[in-house]
């Protein structure tokens, strides 16, 4: 379902070499060194198949979808909807449950604003949020899955609560029943923490939320690229993911909604392409997904996202997950042998990333040192200030891999991390 299949074999060095051949950027040099790209958690690199899919559409079939009767328009529409079908299958949903967005942030805002619109209209009483209702998030959340809910609470008068984490960053599920109560209407949680890499026990949260009649919103940004994802099996009500983190271009993402709920939701953005009948006074809306796709869509990018899903599926998501698990182990085992390193997050099931603190050295300085050797990592709070604050840190360094990450790259990274304290003259 969402856990790594234990029988899946990790990618062999030869397979990874073949994969790397599909990613032109991996051949570039940075500061005189071959690029070691360990920032895939922020944005992944793109294979030729994805770049070609985007370009081929623009070069050969570019035209407006869902309007116009000419041949190109018909072909473009077909390709656009095929892409939706492909991406839906990839995440375990039906095509009419997938709305194109520019990224996960837009998807979460779409939902928050649609719920906001429902709260101020007499036609959507069942989705109305008001004083006394509660929205629940977790202390692990990326700002994208926190601030839209803070703002929704402000607009509607609902109260925002959160599931805290323990000292290792684990969700305090022992408090689940206490925090997710009959007053909860929305529970928004990340599938995989973008800071910790740990895979959250979504099933437990879904069970409790549904028991009290709350809808569950899943941030699947860090799971969609790395784990087999089956949204129907997870039984969440809404979910979001970003294309650019899963080998697709920037500017395209997906918003999933359970069919019945999606069609019960009022629109967020309104305008062309999302209507049936329009008079000077009023408009009728199309069902989902078109109801949420006002205006001209990112057609070439949607098709490229489908190509990315196909690329990952061809490798097999169980094997992608096994590789991520291998990357995670090698990162954690290696970092554990270096003095002065504190890795964030619990051991256990993780995707291939590790965030860490180097005693006495600011993350920006660590990142600069690594960059000098061509090693690209993320530094800062990774858009998760509350989690960092809870763990007693302001900024950390994060290494995050993908299907193209090799053991040699991880070893170069580990060597650089073990040299960093010497360079800055920090010893303890």
């Amino acid at each position: 379902m969402t856990s790594t299949t234990p029988t899946a074999h990790t990618l062999t060095p030869a397979e990874i070499e073949t994969i790397r051949g599909d990613f032109p950027i991996l051949g570039v040099e940075v500061n005189g060194h071959p690029l070691v790209y360990l920032d895939s958690g922020a944005t992944s690199q793109k294979p030729v198949a994805v770049l070609d899919a985007e370009r081929n559409f623009t070069v050969r079939r570019n035209s407006a979808v869902h309007r116009g009767a000419h041949t190109l328009a018909a072909e473009a529409t077909e390709e656009f909807e095929d892409a939706r079908e492909t991406v839906a299958r990839f995440v375990g949903a039906d095509a009419d449950e997938i709305v194109w967005t520019s990224n996960a942030t837009e998807g979460l805002n779409l939902l928050a604003y649609a719920l906001s619109n429902a709260s101020f209209s007499p036609d959507f009483a069942s989705l109305k949020l008001s004083v006394g209702d509660e929205i629940v998030v977790t202390e692990q959340e990326h700002h994208a899955n926190l601030i839209p809910w803070q703002q929704l609470a402000l607009r509607t008068g609902a109260t925002l609560r959160f599931i805290p984490v323990d000292d290792d960053g684990r969700l305090r599920l022992d408090l689940l029943d206490e925090i997710v109560t009959e007053r909860a209407r929305v529970v928004a949680v990340t599938h995989v923490s973008n800071v910790l890499g740990t895979i959250n026990p979504v099933a437990d949260i879904v069970a409790r939320a549904h028991q009290v009649g709350a809808i569950v919103v899943l941030d699947a940004c860090q799971s969609a690229p790395h784990l087999p994802l089956d949204l129907h099996a997870l039984d969440v009500d809404f979910a979001v993911f970003s294309g650019h983190k899963m080998l697709a271009p920037t500017g395209i993402g997906g918003f999933y909604g359970r069919r019945a709920l999606l069609n019960a939701l009022p629109p967020f953005l309104t305008g062309g392409s999302m209507i049936t009948t329009v008079t000077m006074e009023a408009a009728q809306f199309l069902p989902a997904p078109q109801r949420f796709e006002a205006g001209t869509q990112r057609v070439a990018q949607s098709i490229a996202l489908a190509a990315a899903a196909d690329y990952l599926s061809a490798i097999g998501m169980d094997r992608v997950a096994a590789h991520g698990s291998h990357v995670s182990r090698r990162l954690l085992d290696g970092l554990a042998t270096i003095d002065g390193i504190r890795v964030l997050g619990a051991q256990g099931e993780r995707v291939g990333l590790a965030s860490f603190d180097v005693a006495g050295i600011h993350a920006h300085d660590v990142g600069q040192f690594l960059d000098d050797r061509g090693i690209a990592v993320r530094v800062g709070h990774h858009c998760a200030q509350p989690l960092h604050r809870r763990l007693g840190l302001t900024a950390t360094t994060r290494a995050s891999g993908s299907i193209y990450t090799t053991d040699d790259e991880i070893d170069l990274f580990l060597q650089a991390v073990s040299d960093v304290r010497g360079f800055f003259g920090v010893t303890s």
Binding site: I361, H362, A363, D365, Q368, G380, T394, A395, F424
Partner: protein, 145 residues
């Protein structure tokens, strides 16, 4: 193993200032103060000045951040204390111009003394904000913002 450029960015003087910073004091009678935050990394500084007549008599700051932001605040303190306000403003502009020059303009050694150690920063576009943090705080403190 480390490149000349990296060694140019992290000169020994910068590492020393970051480790043992100057001016990390609280002023008793500040005439201006400013808190600055770099939202990308969470680096923070609160810098206060005491202007007597036309002179920045005292500089005091507290904060946390990377080697570049901490050493820049430290070097600023030694450079600005006792300097006339008008000249401080000129120095601030000269510093900003050099930092934004992508390595094209160097800090004048006669004007900037030890702070020329920060010259390497301007080649690293992502780090210019780190070096500027204390100086932006100084600018706001002078303006009374």
């Amino acid at each position: 193993m480390s490149s000349d450029e990296l060694n140019g960015l992290y000169q020994q003087l910068i590492l020393d200032h970051a480790k043992s910073p100057h001016g990390r004091v609280t002023l008793e009678h500040p005439t201006g103060s400013s808190h600055q935050l770099n939202p990308t990394c969470g680096d923070e500084i609160t810098l206060s000045i005491q202007v007597d007549a036309d002179t920045v008599a005292h500089v005091g700051w507290e904060g946390h951040g990377c080697t570049i932001s901490q050493s820049s605040a430290s070097l600023l303190s030694t450079l600005i204390e006792g300097r006339e306000v008008d000249d401080t403003r000129l120095l601030l502009e000269e510093f900003r111009t050099a930092m934004r020059s992508r390595g094209a303009i160097e800090l004048d050694e006669e004007r900037f003394e030890d702070a020329i150690a920060l010259n390497g920063v301007s080649r690293y576009v992502a780090r210019v904000k780190c070096a500027m943090l204390a100086w932006v705080a100084l600018e706001h403190a002078l303006d009374g913002k």
